[in-house]
Symmetry: C3
Subunit: 266 residues, 3 copies
Amino acid sequence: MQHLISIKDLDCAQVQEIFNYTKKIKKHPSKYCKKLKGKILTNLFYEPSTRTSSSFHSAMNHLGGDVISINDVTYSSISKGENLEDTIITMGNYSDIIVLRSKFVGDAQRASDVSTVPIINAGDGVGEHPTQTLLDLFTIYEKFGRTYNLKVTFIGDITNGRTVKSLSKALENGCELNFRDTYNVNDLPESDVYYFTRVQRERGSEGFYEMTRDMVKRMPEDCIVMHPFPRNEEIPRWFDKDPRARYFDQMQNGLYVRMALLLSYK
Amino acid sequence: MQHLISIKDLDCAQVQEIFNYTKKIKKHPSKYCKKLKGKILTNLFYEPSTRTSSSFHSAMNHLGGDVISINDVTYSSISKGENLEDTIITMGNYSDIIVLRSKFVGDAQRASDVSTVPIINAGDGVGEHPTQTLLDLFTIYEKFGRTYNLKVTFIGDITNGRTVKSLSKALENGCELNFRDTYNVNDLPESDVYYFTRVQRERGSEGFYEMTRDMVKRMPEDCIVMHPFPRNEEIPRWFDKDPRARYFDQMQNGLYVRMALLLSYK
Amino acid sequence: MQHLISIKDLDCAQVQEIFNYTKKIKKHPSKYCKKLKGKILTNLFYEPSTRTSSSFHSAMNHLGGDVISINDVTYSSISKGENLEDTIITMGNYSDIIVLRSKFVGDAQRASDVSTVPIINAGDGVGEHPTQTLLDLFTIYEKFGRTYNLKVTFIGDITNGRTVKSLSKALENGCELNFRDTYNVNDLPESDVYYFTRVQRERGSEGFYEMTRDMVKRMPEDCIVMHPFPRNEEIPRWFDKDPRARYFDQMQNGLYVRMALLLSYK
């Protein structure tokens, strides 16, 4: 058994293995439709995230498995004061794998310390969200055939962005990274990847920015534009049809990367 | 691919086809238990409706498919400001069909404009709710063998009733329709169908009415009494065992009509 | 069809039959993975209980069946004023069995009076919770080979504890029972079973107590320590590894007892 708490839990070879698997699954997803038959995944979400929970739900169903969703924690034992550890042990009795989204950094690690089944960290506060990083990396890999020797610019809410923090760490050894905060988005450097992020008002961030037609004109033809979604106004919908827009691909890759990951626990 | 936004999306032949299919399924529901194996339905409910969401959930499970339920929208990306279109594209990546209940007229149409998978409108505010109309029509058809040449009286909250609006539109060409508002229920005309509706206090309606034993006595032996449910006090429980009471049949037909509809997307 | 409203609905022979079945299932759970294929269970929870609903969900999935979860009743027809009876009839149309958790004593009985499918009471206010009692009894039976001729001490929130009330009733004919309220936990009598319970602050209880190393020293080597969970501070985590701690076994047995029970409805 192997938990996935941080992207650093995976070495290069393991990431590459997941990518190879993801490519295969993406080609013929229905070939894997019985691989996890009889298995149960718990989506334990202490903080809402429709996209992430639906993606794991769909991944598990695509593999023939079932899902127990606990996403309304105000309606749970927690509200009676139960600690995370007891909840994890409980759900480990009722399911074969636990996907955990929590509010506090370190919760996923605490969970894995007591769990009898694999824990996948689906975001612990401003900490880590390794499957988001995996799908981001895969989307880059799919375009460029590599995740090194690239110029990557992160734009938006750099400070609060768990996504930015994780992805930039995963890329920092082999790539040239640039960061542009919301008030400073007009001089984007030439890049292979432009990674936009949302201003996280619910985490206390301020600011506003919007991709303009001018910015788009200055972007290379061969670059890609990414965004972890949900988006507010930072990428307007008129850009969606541009071949450089890859945020819907990220979303779709999220499904296949998670299928590959779940299969690796078989 | 074909969306179902309004009952007007279906012509008479298509409605008849769904009825024929529904009859077959109702006779031997278990024969269809693997038809949608491996398929995933998303129940995307921006407004609560246990009955409708459970009915689709059950229909999909009866056909061997899986369901992703998103019914607590305060806990979703929406609360982070995501627009309907992005949510629809997301869920289209994770599932094969989307059942949408929303708060505003026109949302289902907007959803279908961007969706890569079929959208079934399960109610858009005071707009349309075509599967409710289908199950109502089927219940009438089951009794009379036709949905024309009938006298139909609608009773209750006529103005706010999406249900009444849709069904009456579907019947207005071939039937004689009467409407009785809450303050005016004592002189019900002789009819084949009495369609009662609830006073929708949550939509700002007022009024109160209750079916009486006197009203029941004046109803023809061969009529049927319908109600889309939930009910408040307008139909008392003592009437439930009366053979003319067909509201529980409507409920059950809702399951089979939806199974037929889902199968038509195969 | 047989409802399970109270533990008293089962005679000794039926309880023994469930225990025999539970033992078999616990040995080879995967042998039963298709027994309820095509069947649907509704988890109808008017009050939150992650543990109980997840346990039934997992039990049903382990048997190959599907689950419709309704656990957020503020978002249901109820909030439009629907009565329990209509909801039960509705869900009986959409599923094969209903697990009901409600706020008021007697609700499960009312539900069973109108239901066309079996009702399992998963707690009706301060009333009954028979599957909790079954899993408690099974945990005792598993250790001692019997549920009579035992000394059992209940500790904690005796007055508000539905769990204590039910289990003590089931044991009172054959066993010697002792009760210790929160303010009086230091002179625990020698016992075979120590059954700790949580102070139910959400039901208005007060008090605080904690198992101490001294208490543990005075407990017999061959006793067992139980707790229905969730726990607060009354059993500290340092005791978890003690072989006498059986609360995690209770949790696990909950799954198998419920599988046995669901199979008895086949």
